[in-house]
Symmetry: none
Subunit: 193 residues, 4 copies
């Protein structure tokens, strides 16, 4: 109402942030709505002014974070540069996103295919998968990647990336300090022909 910087609702944002944190820490079912309210410093009832239910809330977070991920990683993705450069760019953008929003990344990982995600959330996920697949297929056509099921290659790269991130998180190492360039090189060698 007052400050210019307060574009959208303060509280909505606070709720989303708090819920993201807690869902990452304790899981969806392990997080009580009043806990979210407490951490967001709002009343329990306030959450229901912004989200119809706990499920609606988790879905809102999923879609928002997935799209944020998409904006950072796939927006303006160059299709004409060399495959090696494409891979590096993709990987580094993913690293950039993960460093900037580590919780978001972990959240997206954890909720990949959770039963409480609704059709729309799943659609957002699917769109992104198809994008990646297309890039891989194209590169395979140029003979620059191994001739395997694109899903296998994608599984290896995304899984490997997650493995690196998890390694950092588990030992409380800062993500900035990770050897992203080396990891990128490893995973490139995994899939290049």
């Amino acid at each position: 109402m007052s400050a210019l910087a307060e574009k959208k609702s303060d509280k909505r944002e606070a709720i989303l942030d708090a819920a993201l944190d807690l869902f990452v820490e304790r899981g969806f079912h392990g997080t009580a709505v009043p806990e979210i309210a407490d951490r967001a410093a709002v009343g329990a009832g306030t959450i229901y002014r912004y989200f119809e239910s706990k499920e609606a809330l988790v879905n809102a977070i999923y879609r928002m974070e997935k799209m944020r991920f998409g904006h950072v990683v796939v927006d303006d993705f160059p299709t004409t540069i060399a495959t090696r450069e494409q891979f590096r760019l993709l990987f580094m953008r993913m690293a950039t996103f993960t460093i900037a929003h580590p919780k978001s990344f972990v959240f997206l990982e954890l909720h990949h295919h959770a039963p409480y995600l609704d059709a729309e959330s799943r659609a957002v996920e699917e769109r992104m998968t198809m994008l990646f697949t297309a890039v891989i297929v194209q590169a395979q056509a140029r003979g620059e990647l191994k001739a395997a099921d694109p899903r296998l290659l994608m599984g290896i790269v995304m899984g490997g990336f997650v493995g690196v991130v998890r390694g950092c998180v588990e030992i409380d190492q800062s993500l900035e300090s990770a050897d992203w360039k080396l990891a990128e090189q490893c995973l490139w060698e995994a899939i290049r022909s």
Copy 2:
């Protein structure tokens, strides 16, 4: 209570199986104890004859499965054969385990570092990690793997493996039919020097 084959209690086994299934399907907090009892075809109270609490149950499963994984994957692991062979063996043993016990594998993945795992469960996990690390360090000493933090390499390999499994699960493809040899080759190339 008579048959020789019935070493441990029938019921205990049934409970563990049912709980494993449900924890994988719906998560720890998403699974009610009476549901476990129903699927195990025992009374709800019976669960508490074998396990002190729901947490004790999930920890028992975690330790049991982790050790089963260990038995299949690391028992009698040859230290003298070539690194390439060591990697292939490790990878294929992991594939064997995952094909034989897919739920167990997914369970272990999902509960990696869950807050309700107790100290002992974490210790089991740690022991296994150290084992893998030792193998990697040794191979690095021989100059056969990239000279990176062993945790990075392990993250890539384990993550990549999980990525392949998840890929199969997501598209309901049988794990037997996955191209394990190709995946193994990819991940070897990822980490070899």
Copy 3:
């Protein structure tokens, strides 16, 4: 706030109307204050400018409707005409009121002795009962009504009247079309000596 016709506040009236409707449809506890606000097309807070609480609101309605009923039914009630005529007049005035304000009548019926009615509301109710009783006692003194406890006779007449109204409401028959004259004759025969 300007027009002469707007004696009391527009909004107060709208709130009373909306609340009457909803209390009849869903009961006192079954009606949410914001619902009343919505139907009255005012803000939820506005209700509290006019009424101290939900209870105060229901009491205000009760007293207002009870007094409206009183004005139609007992004002200028002739004490000198024949008992038969008195009864006919009373009955037809009640019918007139019920036809004009069916919701009000049903509301009064439903909230007869509700625990959230306060002392003043109960007093309004009592005054009206005493009036009726006096008429009955007088007529009994003239030997024109059965020599029973006046409360019994009043119970029969008022109950019978309600029964007729409920019959119409239940089958969605318009109250105008009811055979009021016949009903009046029935109930007169019930109590006449």
Copy 4:
């Protein structure tokens, strides 16, 4: 389990009794489930072992009491005796039921057509109404009742009966002491031709 007299579940009965009392005193929406549990001296959760929801509970009570009423009032209703005798029997059976189960009677009155009654409950109600209607129509055919819409006559009689009961309840008079014979005579005169 033990006592012979304990045919059905003790607790189920206690819950039904407590709920009947409270629904009569405070209405459906005005009664909290834990209040019912308290008065029934059972845990709140226990209610849900016997009834799926609060609505299921109120419907169970409605059906049970309606049928109990039916058993007392309409079972073995003689069709061959004189109409005057039929009416007296009906009326006195209703009085007997009301004296024996006053709360049940008031409950049935209050929940007549409540929106949370389900189709089955409504069907029970309808069956009884049709029974009464048939008796009235028959008597009209014999020219012993006024030639009015049977629903009107039924409304007058049932309404009048309720009026008498309410009169007693309001002044805390015992129902036994009511002058049922006189009331019966009044209502007979109301409808006889």
